[in-house]
Amino acid sequence: MNLTRRSVSFFQPEITNIQLPLLVALDQKFAWWLCFVKYLTPFQTFGIIPPMGSIHLVVPQNEEPPALHERAMDNLQYIRETMERATAFTGISGWGQVAIGITALAAAFISAQQKFFKGWLAVWVAEAVIALLIAGWSMDRKARAAKMPLLSGPGRKVAFSLSPPIFAGGIVTLVLYRAGLTNAIPGLWLLLYGTGVVTGGMFSVSAVPIMGLCFMALGAAAFLAPAGFANWFMAAGFGGLHIVFGVIIARRYGG
């Protein structure tokens, strides 16, 4: 009783005799208040610290041999990946590109003499095959020179990124030929070859994607130019750009 009154007196410091019965009535009504004021039972459950967990080592002692084995595998994988990345980085052969550029100039010269579109097309298709052979041979030679006959990694990357636009180019060429829009073909080829070089050269030295962008720009320009300039655009793109960037790559990245 005494305690109860004290708790209420917290709110009402001066208690007179007249007020006492009222306070008793209040006590009965707010008896639940005791729980909090005096015993604090509901809060205490929160305050209890749960028993501590068992102590164990973070690194189990007996797992060292498999970890060493795994680390060795991981290291080998890392060396392989780094070497592949480094080969893809400079795997593009500069002198190979120069050779492709020279054959393209020759092809532009021969194709300009053709009277019919079919002859013109045949010359450039032959040139594409020759360029592909030169590219494959020169990249392989460069990889071998670095004692890395790893055509699987870098070679595949280039092949995969270049072949879809070339495939698309072949199909659109047929469509345009049937529609009689042969004037658009040089621009289309330059544009699509450029996209392939940009995507394929993303992992390579910065000169390669820049060359791709130049091809794309030239392709766009070829669409706008009059049809008579078509061969000049082909010569400037497949001949000139290859030779210029080939020399840059060969000078900077050895071959």
Binding site: H69, L76, T82, R85, A86, F89, G254
Partner: protein, 109 residues
């Protein structure tokens, strides 16, 4: 037991080449093994690292005689070029065979 563990932590495997066991240095040596020469900036973008980090590790390899460094000027820009030395190539080959031995031992046991 504590002592054994302590020494093992220092030498995870006896005879291991500590100089190229480190990730960054192993990467530099591997990248150079696949190329005749690489410039500082090429290596930096290949390893995807910072100037400071690369130069510290490259210097350690240079001090160990694994790579050779030539500094020149290209126009006005300084150009640092790294090449793998014969000792470096041999070290990488040893490291590779070491890793292979570890794997073989695990397969056999």
């Amino acid at each position: 037991m504590q002592e054994v563990r302590a020494t093992r932590a220092k030498h995870p495997a006896p005879g291991l080449d500590r100089l190229i066991h480190e990730r960054m240095r192993l990467g530099i040596v591997s990248a150079l093994a696949a190329n005749e020469a690489l410039t500082f900036n090429d290596l930096k973008s290949l390893m995807n690292t910072t100037d400071g980090n690369l130069s510290v590790h490259a210097r350690k390899l240079e001090e160990g005689g694994y790579i050779a460094c030539t500094k020149s000027f290209e126009g006005r820009l300084p150009k640092t070029e790294y090449k793998l030395t014969v000792a470096g190539r041999r070290a990488l080959e040893n490291y590779l065979s070491h890793m292979e031995t570890i794997i073989h031992q695990m397969r056999n046991s």
